[in-house]
């Protein structure tokens, strides 16, 4: 042991001094920081390192998924029956609504055709499972188990059953990072569903609150208004619910009103999200159409075929 230490002490004279090494590495860090901040040349590096981190994520996720698996497998028959009857009732209800919706949709398409507007093709979605959420308190990042192998691309919109969740910022090979709409750096073009008033919804770092900082005091907005994506930024397809206005404070001496909204999606509770391939920014629609994920469970849902244009 003693000899060993002495040996290492001796050897250390050959390696560059500690301070020099720190200086070199610090310089390298600063270069990396600047390059990463200004441009996006390092995406490939990130992807490569991300692939090595993937096993760690799987291991970290294992207890949670095992627990879920156990719970799913040990629910009593009674509970299952209850659940089934509830789901059946829900399915009936949804079906009834969907019938009306189909009628409305075809009517809408007819009207649009009459107006000579382009008929909207409905978006395609794929279910992805969330592997982890918000590792860092200042960034609301989630990691999902679909990557560029499944056709995920940067900027792709993510929704859950209730509304918009966020968008993909880094499509890795096997998993992707997405930023939530509640991230303090995230802004999202929205419009008020009631009257089409356009504005921007900015994240606050709080899962339950978005801010609408750019609305003048005389804007026509009320508590309870539904905000939907306007589709103007290009990243999000239009018409998905984003948030519900929670409070409107008009400040007479200030230029802008203080408006906050509560996200429609349950950002801190979701386990699965849906990735949208919208008709406009779809890089490769065929990839989604027939794809069946290898790990089963989720299915690629081509939500509907593009309806016949009238």
């Amino acid at each position: 042991m003693v000899a060993n230490t002495a040996d290492r002490e001796h050897r250390s004279t050959k390696t560059p001094a500690l301070g020099l090494r720190l200086l070199l590495l610090a310089a390298l860090s600063v270069i990396l920081l600047v390059v990463d901040h200004r441009q996006h040349h390092l995406d490939a590096v990130r992807k490569a390192i991300g692939a090595t981190v993937y096993p760690l994520r799987v291991v970290v996720d294992a207890p949670v998924s095992t627990w879920r698996w156990l719970r799913e497998n040990t629910t009593s028959r009674n509970e299952l029956l209850l659940e089934m009857s509830r789901l059946n009732a829900e399915r009936l209800l949804t079906h009834a609504r969907l019938q009306r919706f189909t009628a409305l949709e075809s009517e809408n398409a007819r009207l649009r055709a009459m107006l000579d507007a382009t008929s909207k093709v409905r978006d395609q979605v794929q279910v992805a499972e969330i592997m982890s959420v918000s590792a860092n308190p200042f960034r609301h990042i989630l990691v999902v188990n679909k990557g560029s192998r499944d056709g995920v691309f940067n900027g792709q919109a993510m929704i859950d059953a209730d509304g918009v969740v966020g968008q993909v910022i880094e499509a890795g090979l096997l998993s992707s990072n997405g930023v939530l709409i509640s991230d303090p750096d995230h802004a999202l073009p929205v419009e008020v569903n009631r009257n089409g008033l356009r504005t921007i919804a900015v994240g606050t770092g709080d899962f339950d609150r978005l801010e609408l900082p750019f609305l003048p005091n005389n804007a026509d907005i009320e508590r309870g208004d539904l905000l939907v994506t306007s589709g103007l930024g290009g990243a999000f397809p239009p018409g998905y619910p984003v948030a519900i206005v929670e409070s409107v404070a008009r400040i007479p001496q200030g230029p802008f009103a203080e408006v906050t909204a509560r996200p429609a999606a349950r950002l801190n509770q979701v386990r699965e999200i849906m990735l949208i391939w919208s008709a406009d920014n779809d890089p490769d629609p065929t990839e989604v159409d027939g794809a069946v994920p290898a790990n089963g469970g989720e299915t690629a849902v081509p939500e509907s075929e593009p309806g016949p244009r009238r």
């Binding site: 042991m1 500690l18 590495l25 760690l56 982890s132």
Partner: protein, 163 residues
Amino acid sequence: MSSVNASRRLPVFICIIMALMLAIVPMPDWASPYRPDWVVLTLIYWSMSMPRTYSVGTAWITGIVLDVAHGTLLGQHALALAFVTYLTAKFHLQLRVFPMSQMTATVLALLAIYQFILFWINGVAGTYADAVAYWGPLVSGTLLWPIVAHFYSGIRYRATRSS
């Protein structure tokens, strides 16, 4: 010689991997601001006890992996970790003979430097950050240091004995 090195390196490597896993493990909302900086604590310990083998280089590579895992700017955690381990390795002889209370106070200072570098880079890059949330890991990390140090010294003792 090389077998000695391998049997020494493996436990430390596993410790770093475990710390990285603890850094990305999901935590409930109320607890996540208080997530201790496991990776920093681990690297402080090992660069203090084996500064010739583990210092700025190991820390820098671990930091890059941490950057990717957290989705922060590449080089941010790497720079902070490298600087903190530099200080630890530089003063390892003093640190080793400190009593636990004094050592814990030093670790608090090191953690504060680490958080400050992160805070500083966030500020320069224009990433919004709530300053209060930087204090959470500081408190939890300092409180956990005696336990972490005890745990790791057990590992070190066993690794050096078996070699």
